[in-house]
Symmetry: C2
Subunit: 166 residues, 2 copies
Amino acid sequence: MSKIELDKTDRKILEILQSDGRLSNQDIAERVSLSPSPCLRRIKRLEEAGVIRQYVALLDPDKIGLGLLAYVNVRLEKHSEGSSGGRLPAHSPRTDFAQAVSTWPEVVACYAMTGEMDFLLRVHVEDMDHFSRFMMATLLRHPAVLDVKSSFALQRIKETTALPLV
Amino acid sequence: MSKIELDKTDRKILEILQSDGRLSNQDIAERVSLSPSPCLRRIKRLEEAGVIRQYVALLDPDKIGLGLLAYVNVRLEKHSEGSSGGRLPAHSPRTDFAQAVSTWPEVVACYAMTGEMDFLLRVHVEDMDHFSRFMMATLLRHPAVLDVKSSFALQRIKETTALPLV
DNA sequence: CGTGAAACATTAGCGGC
DNA sequence: GCCGCTAATGTTTCACG
């Protein structure tokens, strides 16, 4: 569940796989100056420990017609529970909203956040038209939503899935 | 550069590769009811067209000691250019800032945004201590930065790199 | 689009440091 | 403990029908 011990070679392997997840074990082995079998054993160990969570292909949003990236701050209605003490209710506005979000394909990420706004959503859509349809027909129609503030990406300065290896 | 024509089979392939980027061509071929060679030809075409941008391994931030995810809104100083008309200056606060951001490993994403705040940064760090060091020693020390507002992720409701295929 | 064959990659077992 | 060899098995890739 928590932190894993990584030596220099492990970090090198992770760096390589974060930048090219399809390199062959042989190539990786060569780059970390190991023979294929111990290299593969390390990779397997990292996968089983959950350090490597998944291998994926990253697509270009523009090439598949998703030209607009929005970040939407959402504030939910305050639910006055009152009665049942500190217990988490099975159907709070929060859990309802979290469940709904998971089913909306436009929303690729959603975090509960500190600060005034309760949630931050990352939304990929075709254009403003699609975005406003999503807002009117889906997000603003959800009963738990109190208000929202949207911002749109004008320019991608930096964007990587590779985490810094400390 | 712009949109590419995708048929049903292409979309199926992309969906599969977005969820498992290391599946063998043979497996993919089977799942889309094709034999390996036309399947490989399609994948190669999608890679060359730039629809598939990259294959990567996704790591678990907690497992490598990056327990804190922050979103930081940054506002830059207003630069009074005045003289040189509409031309983009080679050293505006904006381009300086964009270049600096690219070199900070904690910042994994940065977008220029609409709205009051000029930039949105996604920042992965170990803990609050590391975060406040990053703020004091790096972000707030940059001459172009006017002010910042930070929020922290309390809970990951949804997080995927897979884009919805329209 | 599919077949087949050569080139290449993966992976388990075993011995050595 | 971790490394590297070997050998069987499986995969990719391309010319050709």
